[in-house]
């Protein structure tokens, strides 16, 4: 009856049928259990990044401010600050609203960081502000992922956990990059994103400079009969400046024939890091308001925008500049000069914008 060679052996049938029944009725719960384990590990890591960034920020502030008052409580308040984006049911004028909201937040943070110690210089202030942004972003990522995970578990809803599972590797990549960026910001080292300011900063050396817009520097030079307006954020503070406002002022007072933007760009998988590519259109990241403004100015005044990008990963862009990226600076500079000669005539004017965070990169 229980012979091993028999295909109709009831014990063997039971062994086969039981798991099938189990998977039919409890498949989702089993998948939920397996996926939960992976997500839990991710959340644990995110929590580690959150705690570490907060600790690093508090330590840095305590070390650099001239105050006897413990800043911990105030910093914790800053970390929980949120930004409510404007309603976009009617998209008319949305860019202005977003710009206003984002700039108000920046101004608020700057003023409140300043209130920790009025003697804080601009460079320290910008570093604290950046560290605060990192800590605040890591706190937000942890909070959102944890919320999505706990909701899926509470509802015992497997499909609800799928988006978390799909998005988690990308969030982890960003979170790891932000965690790795902390030492570079604390010590004021140049970042991968600083390649644009590095190229333009060197072109500005030994030339008279002026502040044209908030945390943005302008220098004017002549090159083979062309007038060059060089723009970058004011280094070596950790800032990206306001190149859109600066371009607006330059175009208002001068006839500009071309704009060349130099920026770091996210490389695609399989692309070589630090490879240089030329293109057309505004090369600038961020929330999009600056890009919009630059494109608007260019369109209104019929100015072509050329761009040179230096490819890199998310981590490379916000951590200490790699040797490969730093080695491209001279090559990019010569490509800028080449681009000027190819696209403009003698007597014309060109705006060159070094886009990116200028931490550790003066001019």
């Amino acid at each position: 009856m229980f012979s091993m060679g028999d295909d109709t052996n009831p014990l063997m049938m039971l062994i086969w049928i039981l798991p099938i029944i189990l998977f039919v009725f409890y498949g989702q719960q089993i998948q939920l259990l397996v996926t939960s384990g992976e997500i839990k590990k991710g959340i644990k890591k995110l929590n580690g990044f959150r705690v570490n960034s907060k600790k690093e920020l508090i330590d840095y502030v305590k070390k650099n401010i001239d105050s006897t008052v413990d800043p911990t409580q105030k910093i914790e308040q800053f970390l929980d600050y949120f930004t409510i984006m404007p309603v976009d049911m009617d998209p008319n004028g949305i860019v202005e609203k977003v710009r206003h909201t984002v700039r108000s937040r920046e101004d608020y943070t700057r003023n409140h960081v300043k209130s920790l110690s009025p003697k804080l210089n601009e460079i320290e202030l910008s570093r604290i502000q950046t560290l605060l942004e990192i800590a605040s972003s890591l706190q937000m990522i942890h909070k959102i992922v944890n919320h999505m995970f706990l909701t899926a578990k509470k509802q015992k809803n497997y499909p609800l956990i799928l988006p978390v599972q799909m998005i988690l590797p990308f969030l982890m990549e960003h979170a790891k990059a932000m965690d790795a960026a902390i030492p570079a910001f604390k010590t004021g080292q140049p970042l991968g994103d600083g390649i644009g300011p590095m190229v333009v900063g060197k072109m500005m050396l030994d030339v008279e400079k002026e502040i044209i817009s908030f945390q943005t520097v302008l220098a004017k030079i002549d090159y083979k009969g062309r007038k060059l307006f060089l723009l970058k954020a004011e280094g070596p503070a950790s800032t990206v400046g306001r190149p859109d406002d600066a371009l607006q002022k330059i175009v208002h007072d001068n006839k500009i024939d071309a704009v060349i933007m130099i920026d770091a760009a996210l490389k695609m998988e399989g692309e070589d890091s630090a490879s240089v590519a030329r293109g057309f259109g505004a090369a600038i990241g961020g929330i999009g308001t600056e890009k919009f403004q630059i494109e608007h100015i260019a369109t209104q005044n019929n100015i072509p925008i050329f761009s040179i990008v230096i490819k890199q990963s998310v981590k490379e862009a916000i951590t200490l500049m790699t040797k490969e990226i730093a080695d491209q600076a001279d090559n990019v500079r010569s490509q800028v000069y080449e681009m000027i000669l190819e696209n403009t005539l003698e007597g014309q004017s060109v705006v060159i914008i070094g886009v990116g965070n200028t931490s550790g990169v003066p001019q």
């Binding site: 790795a180 010590t187 004021g188 080292q189 140049p190 590095m198 900063g201 060197k202 050396l205 280094g235 070596p236 951590t319 200490l320 500049m321 790699t322 040797k323 990226i325 730093a326 080695d327 600076a329 550790g360 990169v361 003066p362 001019q363």
Partner: protein, 60 residues
């Protein structure tokens, strides 16, 4: 991971002599910023400025 190597990023500063144009690589020290005048050239009596600051990954 059991078999993955520990990665450490080491920061370096490259100084370039304004006179003899020779390059000198040293460890990054806090306060170093690009294009700043750094130290005396070890090859001639010229002054060096900081040409590059970058990180290199060391696997252990």
């Amino acid at each position: 991971m059991i078999f993955s190597k520990e990665k450490t990023t080491l920061a370096y500063t490259i100084e370039k002599c304004l006179k003899c144009e020779k390059l000198h690589k040293r460890d990054f020290s806090e306060g170093d910023i690009l294009f700043a005048i750094s130290s005396k050239c070890t090859f001639c009596d010229g002054i060096t400025n900081i040409e590059k600051i970058f990180g290199e990954i060391l696997e252990r």
